[in-house]
Symmetry: C2
């Protein structure tokens, strides 16, 4: 069975949207990635850290999804990373209200021995130094390293981020971040420049406007499923990345055609994530629901023009 | 052979984009629609009006594309409709600098006798009173009436526009206009409300973010082709509508599956339109170029997931 190593935050989130607000709930990039990847019955492990305040019920929840938590360090006298944000009315932008790094400030990731030969490594959004450390701990070069990051690291640790970017095979970032990283407005040109920085595959996430996958001269596009109502966008990008990585782990096929399928799975899973607050929808998601929505995705995008 | 009646402006445009500016060049909704539809070798006629200042070379250009100009009225002592606009840096919005209605102010459309039995009527952007007059002149109910309109008519003649909307089968409008027309932010909800106003099919154009086709509970999505550079967006929406109408005329198949194909043809043709100023690219476009880009569209959007 393929192994997938997931690095990223495991956190408390407090979220406010036009539809309501939550107290501290389960969040974090690695959490969303893990929940999405768990749909594929693969051998996935989360490398992260939480504090002694992290509830046993959340650990149980993740373990019940067959996510390996050997490398989820628990700092007994520390506090779990906390993020709080408020979405604007159109849900396309948000303000961060509070960020408390807590145990993340001194986090030293340790990849367990039995995962040092993992085929795929998914570097979720986190300090580039942590991402770099995980790459360096791998005993042999993984078949595929996928990087997700955000503008915060471009603003604050660009050199280190660029070093990570130079070492990965796939990068997933959003449209504004692709523009910031390259200084190019056209996403086609930006994707080409990012490929020159290292990654052979570039995924540009456009939120409600879908996602683009670039590789050499090829481009693939997957829309976001048109939804009557987006309830909470938190974690949608991580869920996309987790679906992408999980599907590739499951199928063990890194061709461009199969990456297209991985993008479709990622988009489909993300369409569930936004239906409820936090991880709630991903916790209850069944394989039958996923299959049904994949069919919707097919009828949404597939057509039958015969070409001469 | 199927007949297509096209109503809309034939105009002079003066355009300014970040890449340059033009003097008065050939423009107008019916012009773009006609040029796009002419790719399908159908029997298409433009119902419109120009002034005595409209150059013979433009008339020749349209005739050479086999567009019937019997119903293009020429008011010898009048001046052709003129529009001037300037695009902002991201090309997603524009300011109108000047609008001179001229001969359009008193336009009384006349559908020629030989087109009163046309199977498809394409109502390009124009005063709703003109659109209504054309519908009323048809000897028998066309198989399909397609309406394109814009926010200007919603602001100024909403009641009349709603009367037109109640009489058409397909409406194509952009996302902001769909929201304005219905007061709904979600495009899925907006499309449902518009269907209740009359049109069985609703196409919502999202510019660089593609187009959605709604019918009952079905949704189809076509992206815009990712381009390195958009030169001039003028006429892209009309070109989309012309490709949509032209393909349906050519194939004489009004099933939802074939409408998907029509959306793809519309999107593909629009991707050419924006490559040069005004109608320049559409004038030179060949069938071989169109076929080649349709192949790109296929590889951009088609995938092979086997579903259980």
């Amino acid at each position: 069975m393929q192994k997938l190593v997931i690095v990223g935050t495991v956190a408390f989130d407090a979220i406010e949207t036009p539809f309501g607000k939550t107290d501290k709930i389960l969040g974090g990039a690695a959490t969303y990635i893990g929940l999405a990847a768990s749909q594929f019955n693969i051998d996935a492990a989360i490398v992260s850290v939480v504090g002694g305040d992290f509830p046993q019920e959340y650990l149980t929840l993740l373990k019940d999804k067959n996510i390996d938590l050997t490398a989820l360090e628990i700092v007994k006298d520390g506090k779990t990373f906390f993020w709080s944000g408020k979405y604007k009315n159109d849900l396309n932008s948000r303000d961060t209200l509070d960020t408390q790094l807590n145990v993340l400030a001194d986090f030293n990731p340790k990849v367990p021995a039995q995962y040092k030969d993992a085929e795929i490594v998914m570097l979720g959004n986190l300090h580039p130094a942590v991402q770099l450390s995980v790459i360096e701990q791998m005993a042999e070069m993984p078949k595929l390293i996928i990087l997700d990051t955000m503008n915060f690291w471009m603003d604050n640790t660009m050199d280190l981020l660029k070093e990570v970017i130079s070492k990965v095979d796939v990068i997933t970032i959003n449209d504004e971040e692709a523009r910031q990283l390259t200084g190019e407005y056209s996403l086609v040109v930006a994707a080409r420049k990012i490929q020159q920085m290292g990654p052979k595959y570039v995924v540009i996430k456009k939120g409600e406007h879908g996602a683009l996958l670039f590789h050499e001269e090829e481009i693939f596009f997957a829309p976001a499923l048109p939804l009557e109502e987006v309830f909470d966008p938190t974690g949608a990008g991580d869920t996309f990345a987790g679906g992408f990585a999980g599907y590739l782990s499951k199928t063990n096929d890194l061709s461009f055609d199969n990456m297209k399928n991985a993008v479709i799975y990622g988009s489909t899973l993300a369409s569930f994530c936004v239906e409820k607050f936090g991880t709630e929808r991903m916790q209850s998601l069944t394989k039958a629901e996923l299959q049904k929505r994949l069919k919707q995705f097919k009828s949404l995008t597939q057509f039958e023009i015969k070409l001469s």
